[in-house]
Symmetry: C2
Subunit: 359 residues, 2 copies
DNA sequence: GAGAAATTAGTTATCGATATCAAATATCGC
DNA sequence: GCGATATTTGATATCGATAACTAATTTCTC
């Protein structure tokens, strides 16, 4: 019990352990780790060897404590979203790496009521990440402008780009999907719109329309239906489209949930998918791969976007603290067409029946 | 610019600001916040008023620095899982509250290869949370037992309960679902098994069998099909079941993804759901509400379970550091039957046609 | 090659919170 | 009501890392 020779409890090695082993001061070791100031090669190598030997990993808490930890708030406008996992993975991973403190606050009331935003502001955050639709909310932006808090729009950005943002090129994504459908031979293509308040929805529709026009295909008013990004609105849009004569041969929904609604109604009408109807979505949520047939959609690098957002807002906060003027940084990431089983050539009627085969 | 009366830059309030405003020492304020030691009511109220007035939020970095931050590792065995969002929300929320450092490491190779586990161990974590199937992996447990690292099994626990765990009562959940189907009037109920390596899958099957037996209903061998928790395996199990004569009137899959597969095949066979076939799942993933018809399933409080897991392993680590013997804490949380549209009475053939109505 | 300028390394103080120990106050037994 | 014990509060040191400053060394200029 009270053995005097008891080995001291194992603990994670500190920068001081590294410095002692390397025979330098802890400050020098710290500089090697952070790379903030050059260190002579001979010492640098000794320190690096010690780091490897001890398996040293910096204590982010201590680092953050000294360096004046930046606090970043994130408003969760849709805590049940299926892309939340990927988003949080990227955001928290980066925050751990940078040593910034992340405060995640779910919007309990309607997102546009700004309750979560107010709670975060009162908690003393230095920067805020605004997912849709808050990045487009003039009320939210006005509220933030009055404060000293920096903001960054995630996946949305108004055309004036008045705040920093991390987005994908929604226009281009929608255009590539539309072109995919046209290349398959579709001519009668319907589109389910996203929410009126979401600027990405507008850009997706613009990408659709532009590509149709470029290919000299008509966009009839009857082939456009309103939607609000919910399963139900997709379901109802499909009911409208599929009662038309002639029917559209393809339906492109502005997100996956609505595409799921379209597919559900098509099943209900006993249509053979994808031969009698092609369906396309946008977002590549986990649902896309689980639907039957699995959904052709546009993949966004959510995790990378989230880590970029955290890194960017942290950088902006740091600059603002140093009194530097804030640049309107805007990262636009690439998105990618993912072709699965829900789209096919409209004339594929007699193609090998895939109704009971799974890709 | 250099106005001498310039207000000092706004910054987050500290415990010291709180203490000054309340007219007490910072230590007293700290005790009020943490609740570690009782504080006289009069002072406590003054401190709480100051906290509210200043909107004080503890700086987790500083707290962690002083308290010897506990590092908890989490192996992500399925980074694409749709319950990941809820899981991370609970886990990170609690880690922020407790000031423990969370290292989340996705398993890049097969989970049973233990690559992520090894990386976490080398990073000097003090405790590790093991989601399925690692909580059942003897190799993983053996590796950990050799080290000084504490472990906690999430959602799995072997019968000997040789390590601490946070689980739900899978047996009870499956039993309540089975009873629900029986109460609706089903007699021919088929079951899709989960992966052989997942102990929860075994317990779910046991719950199903026990309840069938209790109600004097037969469990034919042909009404049990193997599965591995994937959409595809559910799809194939359904193909097997629905070619039988007489067909089962209900299929209970050990998770939602497999239930989605069952529903997809049933649509492909033009069965009217739920009238001609009831389908039930387990987990209540976001997919469940997006399927059509929406899925009757068992809801698990993932977010609460995750925060409980973090709190518990942090506590275990703290005890181990203090040299106390580790108790085998096992939290078993309640799960809940969620009845949606995919289950109905088997004789409901002529009920009002809900095929084109959405609930 | 002397002195100035630039570079690199070390010392000390500090971030915000809490562990620890000491002091002050309240409570109790008889 | 006194000393003893229990409870509550405060002062100080400290967690691990780095900012800011100082000291030492190197490099450069003419």
């Amino acid at each position: 019990m009270s053995t005097p020779t008891r080995k001291r409890p194992a603990r994670a090695p500190t920068i001081h352990d590294v410095a002692t082993l390397a025979g330098v001061s802890s400050m020098t070791a710290s500089r090697v780790v952070s790379g903030s100031t050059p260190v002579r090669q001979a010492l640098r190598e000794k320190v690096n060897a010690a780091i490897k030997e001890l398996n040293y990993r910096p204590n982010v808490a201590a680092r953050a404590a000294r360096s004046g930890s930046v606090r970043i708030g994130i408003v969760l406008t849709n805590p049940k979203s299926s892309i939340l996992g990927e988003f949080l993975l990227g955001a928290y991973g980066e925050s751990t790496r940078l040593g910034v403190q992340l405060l995640v606050e779910p919007a309990i009331e309607d997102p546009v009521k700004l309750d979560a935003l107010r709670r975060l502001m009162r908690a003393g955050v230095d920067g805020i990440i605004l997912p849709p639709p808050l990045g487009d909310s003039t009320a939210a932006l006005a509220l933030l402008r009055k404060s000293r808090i920096s903001a960054l729009a995630f996946a949305t950005a108004d055309s004036q780009a008045s705040i920093p943002a991390v987005t994908i090129d929604d226009f281009k994504g929608a255009a590539s999907m539309t072109q995919h459908l046209i290349d398959l031979g579709h001519k009668r293509i319907a589109f389910v719109q996203g929410g009126k308040l979401h600027s990405p929805a507008q850009r997706r529709e613009a990408g659709f329309r532009a590509t149709m026009e470029k290919n000299s295909l008509p966009v009839r008013a009857a082939w456009i239906a309103p939607g609000d990004f919910t399963f139900k609105s997709g379901f109802e849009a499909a009911r409208k489209f599929l009662s038309l004569a002639p029917r559209p041969t393809a339906i492109f929904a502005a997100n996956d949930d609505m595409a799921a609604g379209v597919i559900a109604l098509a099943h209900g009408m006993n249509l053979k998918l994808p031969d009698e109807l092609s369906v396309a979505g946008f977002d590549d949520t986990p649902i896309a791969a689980t639907l039957w047939p699995s959904l052709t959609t546009i993949h966004q690098p959510i995790s990378t976007m989230a880590s970029t957002a955290v890194r960017t807002i942290a950088e902006i906060v740091r600059r603002a603290r140093a009194g530097e003027a804030g640049a309107f940084i805007h990262h636009r990431m690439e998105c990618m067409l993912v072709v699965r089983a829900s789209t096919a050539s409209p004339s594929a009627q007699s193609e090998k029946t895939r109704t009971t085969t799974i890709s």
